[in-house]
């Protein structure tokens, strides 16, 4: 079985599991008192956001290791992770407004958290733009690594300053100094969704990695 086929199976399993999570979210998880059914999108929005950040951090880490080891596998992985991260960032930026319209009464606001996600999306886009603009493979890998590392540093900075601006966005309710402020049923659904998004991430990255391999093979012909 090739890597692409394996990746496809993992994604398929992930999508089935995501269906399962949503059955649980809609039928077996209590409805939030103030937000009503709109809150159900939370199980998509939050795991997608966390997976995006994870993807970006891995792009940066792969960049650091690439600059030392010069292993082309790390570069292929970084490329795949960035592309999957872009898709997940797009999910965050789509599900957010869908929730924001009924709850906040607006699709978009220049709130610190929303803006920082948009930043992340732009960073990922510019990462792909840079990759597309360099013809030499070795140079492309090095430039991409440099940009990836800078992007992670910037994301860290943005996170620090997000706490300095007043925000409309709900505060973190799982990873916070006090214990999670979520009823156990909701927490379990959320954690399951996190797991499913990780599976999807792995599956997509495997497929994208396989594409990178094929492109390389094709360019050598």
């Amino acid at each position: 079985m090739t890597l692409a086929q394996k990746g496809r199976r993992v994604v398929l399993a992930g999508l089935l599991l995501l269906g399962g999570v949503y059955v649980r979210a809609l039928a077996f998880t209590p409805v939030e008192r103030f937000q009503g059914p709109a809150q159900k999108i939370f199980y998509l929005h939050v795991p997608a956001a966390v997976t995006t950040e994870l993807a970006v951090i891995l792009v940066g880490l792969a960049g650091v290791f690439f600059l030392f080891l010069k292993d082309p596998r790390l570069d292929r992985f970084a490329e795949a992770s960035a592309e999957v991260g872009t898709v997940f960032a797009a999910i965050v930026l789509t599900t957010g407004p869908i929730w924001g319209k009924p709850i906040w009464g607006t699709w978009w606001t220049w709130d610190a958290r929303l803006t920082s996600t948009l930043f992340l999306f732009f960073l990922l886009i510019s990462y792909h733009v840079l990759r597309g603009a360099v013809t030499d493979a070795g140079l492309r890998a090095r430039y991409a690594a440099v940009l990836g590392i800078c992007a992670v540093v910037l994301v860290g900075f943005i996170h620090l300053s997000v706490y300095l601006f007043p925000t409309l966005h709900p505060q973190p309710i799982v990873l916070r100094p006090a214990k999670p402020g979520l009823p156990p049923e909701m927490l379990v659904t959320l954690l399951m969704s996190f797991g499913v998004f990780l599976v999807l991430y792995v599956g997509f990255v495997m497929q994208r990695y396989a594409i990178a391999l094929r492109r390389e093979a094709a360019s050598h012909v």
């Binding site: 600059l67 930043f119 732009f122 960073l123 510019s126 733009v129 840079l130 603009a133 360099v134 013809t135 140079l139 090095r142 430039y143 690594a145 440099v146 940009l147 590392i149 800078c150 540093v153 910037l154 900075f157 943005i158 300053s161 300095l164």
Partner: protein, 226 residues
């Protein structure tokens, strides 16, 4: 350390001498700044929006564009006659090369801003007199932030396709953060708020500068290896 700075100064001096002898780039950057300020004047309705509300944005958008224009030429200069290869085989270390380019860019952008600020005051009648020193501090800190990342990226983009377009696309997400800090600090300064309200933004700007100069110093050699 001495050697690092000495070599950096040699590189910076070479660039600055070149710049001040030809003057083409510098002059066009200054004219560009004046034009952007003029465009802003016509891009608003003075009876609807008070100038003071818009002033920090005008100042910082102008300086951001001017910095970007200046940074585009930092390594473009070295492409002619394979000058970059010459620099790389010379006994100047990669880090000194970065620092030198950083200094030269700071000088270049600094001159443009030194002309831009009086023009801004003149065109928009902003009372900067009482806060001139802290305002210059904000401008200096933000400029170091812009130029530190910009110098690193301009070294990369010269060897890509569409270099002139590539730099803004890569750089703008990185400029937005210092831009936000600088606008917040400038708005408070121009509104006559006490300095204690501004010091937090200044600290953030300084932190951004330190982090990105350090990151760029570490990463720059990797953009230059053959």
């Amino acid at each position: 350390m001495r050697e690092l700075l000495g070599q950096a100064w040699t590189v910076a001096r070479k660039d600055l001498v070149l710049e001040f002898r030809t003057r083409t780039a510098l002059l066009s950057a200054v004219v560009f700044t004046a034009l952007v300020l003029t465009v802003f004047n016509f891009g608003r309705d003075p009876t609807a929006v008070a100038t003071i509300d818009l002033a920090p944005s005008i100042l910082w958008v102008t300086f951001t564009f001017a910095a970007m224009l200046a940074l585009n030429r930092a390594f473009q200069l070295e492409l002619e006659n394979g000058a970059l290869e010459g620099l790389l085989v010379s006994p100047v270390s990669r880090r000194s090369l970065y620092l030198g380019k950083l200094l030269a860019n700071l000088g270049f952008v600094g001159v443009v801003e030194a002309v831009g600020l009086p023009l801004f005051v003149l065109f928009f009648d902003v009372p900067v007199g009482p806060v001139l020193l802290p305002l210059i501090g904000v401008i200096a800190l933000a400029t170091v932030g812009f130029v530190s990342v910009g110098t690193l990226f301009s070294a990369m983009v010269v060897r890509t396709r569409f270099a002139e377009l590539m730099l803004p696309v890569l750089l703008l997400p990185f400029l937005l953060l210092p831009l936000t800090y600088a606008v917040q600090a400038t708005a408070r300064l121009l509104a006559g708020r006490p300095l204690s309200e501004v010091s937090g933004w200044l600290k953030l700007l300084a932190a951004y500068d330190l982090v990105f100069v350090a990151v760029a110093l570490l990463l720059f050699p990797h953009t230059m290896d053959e």
